[in-house]
């Protein structure tokens, strides 16, 4: 008698059924789908690429193929192909407004067959060059380091790597952490009140901390010792700190600006620890200070204005009035390169002082140059629920007014490649904007409480947001969807930062523990 195979088990049967269903779902693009006529635009400049539209068969129109096509169109060497992110305007059926969406993998199924776009029109595809390196989304809590006795109010990674992070806390100390091992390195004791702002100098040699006790202190990150004396001068607490960009520093004499509630900004010489300039002119608490790479200091204040100062002599260059309420935060399109100076994604540090300066300068120019001009854009977030995009070199008129938030906007950042703006506000949403013209792109919904801070990954493909609802969320900037949800904090998250090499995310909040997240 021949051996009869036993009948398939239930698991086998359901597996087979699943497989059959999956195979059915693979959609074929019909042969007669025709061709798409694509016109590429450069997202940084908004100018067309190539001469006239390109004809691409619908079946072959995938982002990967387009990338290849665009690189060939621009005559790039095959070893230096640049990855691109493609977006196209798609009309919404209900509102007849166009929304910018990512170029889908199967354009026939998602856009052509529902009738959203047609093959008879020219499609305007904007192409945004992406970083050649890729940051993986952080997905787990690598370490939760207790140590602080009170809530953590500010964190920042070292510009050199993700190995070191500094955090300022309500227990009057700042602490330096070793993020690779999850252990504390140094405790920076000295302040007599909360440490509100921490800032790592761009060359990784000093840390500045600003505190509720009206002083600014400098520390050596290697030894954890205080450098010199507390820098006194402010009459109210220090709200924000900014280092002079590395490439504009006079040989070995870094300066640092501190903004305070007492309506002044003081520029300190870091070596002599003396006040070099006092920028007074604001009528209210100065909420944010940024030092630009083109010789300007930008300050936003609760008196509704943004002021631009010359960093050589401290004279007022411009006053930007447009906001109707407090200015909460400022961001520069060059923030990331100014913060990291000569530290790039390869991790190589130039040997000599001159090569460091030249590399920092090169990186700055590369990030800031658009069509042969050095352009440093500024975006300001305000309590009047709006943001303004400014191009201070072109005058005091804003480039765009960004409407959409339904409550105060607390934090705003430029992506490191300068193509996107992310803004987070008290209305629980984070919004993504085009950094060239200030057009609204998308809203990231998911938090159930005010979003306090957000930070881009160094390759601009991901965004992490920290919220009052105790979670961090990582968002994908291509699809504008939630990538990873990171619960773990036991209370509000006050500060979040993505390390400049992209490896780790550091966060701190009311639950007193610093958390380091990694892939």
């Amino acid at each position: 008698m021949a051996t009869v195979l036993p009948p398939p088990s239930k698991r086998q049967r359901t597996d087979a059924a699943d497989r059959a269903r999956l195979q059915q779902n693979i959609e074929e693009v019909p042969k007669d789908a025709g061709s798409l006529r694509l016109q590429f635009y450069d997202e940084t400049t908004g100018l067309p690429i190539g001469q006239g539209p390109v004809l691409v068969p619908v079946a072959d129109a995938t982002p990967r193929n387009l990338e290849l096509l665009l690189n060939t169109l621009q005559g790039h060497d095959p070893s230096e192909y640049i990855p691109y992110r493609f977006t196209l305007p798609v009309p919404d059926k209900k509102t007849s407004e166009t929304t910018t969406t990512a170029f889908p993998t199967n354009i026939y199924k998602t856009l052509i067959s529902p009738g959203l776009i047609s093959t008879e029109e020219v499609q305007n595809i904007s192409a945004a060059p992406q970083a050649v390196f890729r940051v993986q989304a952080v997905s787990r809590c690598a370490s939760s380091i207790p140590g602080h006795g009170e809530a953590i109010l500010a964190t920042q990674f070292s510009p050199r790597s993700s190995a070191k992070m500094v955090s300022g806390s309500g227990d009057n100390t700042a602490r330096i952490w070793d993020c690779d091992t999850g252990t504390p390195i140094h405790t920076l004791k000295g302040h007599t009140s909360w440490v509100l702002a921490v800032s790592w100098s761009p060359d990784d040699s000093k840390i500045a901390t600003g505190s509720m006790d009206n002083t600014v202190r400098l520390w050596d990150p290697k030894t954890g010792k205080q450098l010199g004396n507390p820098m006194k001068g402010h009459t109210k607490w220090v709200t924000s700190l900014a280092w002079e960009p590395y490439h504009t520093q006079q040989n070995g004499q870094p300066r640092m600006a501190s903004a305070s509630k007492d309506a002044t900004v003081r520029v300190w010489s870091a070596n002599q620890q003396t006040i070099e300039l006092v920028l007074s002119g604001h009528k209210g608490s100065v909420s944010c200070v940024k030092w630009g790479g083109t010789g300007r200091i930008y300050t936003g204040s609760h008196d509704k204005t943004i002021k631009l100062w010359n960093d050589k002599d401290g004279t007022l260059v411009h006053t930007l009035n447009s906001h109707a309420h407090w200015v909460n935060h400022l961001a520069l399109s060059t923030d990331f390169v100014i913060r990291t100076a000569f530290h790039d994604h390869t991790g190589k540090i130039p040997e000599t002082k001159e090569s460091k300066v030249s590399q920092a300068k090169d990186r700055f120019l590369k990030a800031a140059t658009i069509q042969g001009e050095v352009v440093e854009r500024l975006v300001s977030a305000s309590d009047d629920f709006t943001m303004y995009l400014w191009d201070p070199s072109k005058g005091t008129k804003p480039v765009a007014r960004m409407l959409g938030h339904q409550k105060q906007v607390n934090h705003v950042t430029f992506s490191p490649d300068g193509l996107l703006i992310a803004s987070s506000g008290f209305d629980n949403h984070t919004k993504i904007w085009n950094a060239r013209d200030g057009k609204f792109i998308n809203t990231l919904r998911g938090h159930v409480a005010p979003v306090y801070q957000c930070a881009f990954s160094p390759d601009s493909r991901l965004l992490v947001t920290g919220s009052k609802d105790t979670t961090l969320k990582v968002w994908d900037m291509r699809t504008h969807k939630l990538s990873v949800d990171l619960p773990g904090h036991k209370d509000e998250v006050y500060a979040v930062d993505w390390s400049p090499d992209g490896q780790k995310v550091g966060s701190g909040g009311k639950d007193k523990a610093v958390r380091v997240w990694r892939h």
Binding site: V448, T470, D485, K490, D491, E492, K510
Partner: protein
């Protein structure tokens, strides 16, 4: 047409009396005198009704004054920073932190394992069935057999409850003694919020009372705290939270409870 509409029509056609404003002003000015006279002169039922009305008015007035005072206090919020450290961007804002404090206090308490099963009222007075139920004696059969019971204590009845046919309904929960909301106090913060009841979790007297939703002193109820905006560690919004009833609801006409943390 009702009377008031005639009056309205007349007013539209002919306007007000010429001395209307003066008369209303004078009337309003004399109101105090009128009130005082009424308070002194009225007797009997009218006095009783008048006093009751006046009493309610006074309560409203005092509440309003208190509300105004509280608002004034808030507007002159302390300039110096609070005792809890806040980041720079939250320093000059007046944040409603109550609900938040609630959730963190709850979390802190959770950490202590021993506290998990302790409740504010560990012991309650026993209630006999005779006190709880009244035998219903209506109708021929019901009276003869005496199987129908009316619950004499306040109850919580879920929103989707429909009565069974009279023939099968053994327990009657009177409409007048049903409660939907409870005044829930947070023990550490001392804030009291009026919250909807979701369910009765445990009546310590008798498991049957739990099923019937009887609200007596010491009963554990689940209340809806979603409008407080609490969030779990996982980022989900907290919905239900347990509370223990602290008063004799049948005597007081309201349900007071204390949140279990």
């Amino acid at each position: 047409m009702p009377q008031n509409e005639y009056m309205d029509r007349w007013r539209k056609l002919h306007g007000r009396r010429l001395d209307h404003e003066e008369r209303t002003r004078k009337k309003a000015a004399r109101e105090g005198h009128k009130a005082s006279e009424d308070a002194q002169k009225l007797t009997g039922l009218r006095a009783k009704l008048y006093q009751k009305k006046r009493h309610h008015e006074k309560i409203q007035m005092k509440k309003q004054i208190k509300a105004h005072e509280e608002r004034n206090v808030k507007s002159s919020a302390p300039n110096e920073p609070s005792t809890t450290p806040l980041p720079q961007y939250l320093l000059d804002r007046s944040n409603p932190t109550n609900a938040k404090a609630l959730s963190s206090a709850i979390k802190n308490k959770r950490a202590e394992k021993a506290a998990k099963f302790s409740v504010p009222l560990p012991k309650v007075r026993g209630i006999a069935e005779e006190e709880m139920f009244k035998v219903v004696k209506t109708g021929k059969k019901t009276a003869k057999k005496g199987w129908k019971r009316m619950i004499t204590k306040p109850t919580f009845v879920g929103p989707d409850f429909t009565r069974r046919p009279v023939k099968y309904e053994r327990f009657i929960r009177p409409m007048g003694l049903r409660y939907k909301k409870a005044h829930v106090t947070h023990p550490e913060l001392g804030v009291t919020v009026n919250l909807p009841i979701i369910s009765v979790k445990k009546n310590p007297q008798n498991p049957m009372y739990t099923q019937l939703g009887v609200l007596t002193k010491g009963t554990i109820i689940e209340v809806n705290v979603s409008d407080l905006g609490l969030v779990t560690a996982g980022g989900k919004v907290v919905w239900g939270r347990w509370a223990q009833i602290t008063n004799n609801c049948e005597n007081d006409g309201c349900v007071n409870a204390v949140l279990l943390v």
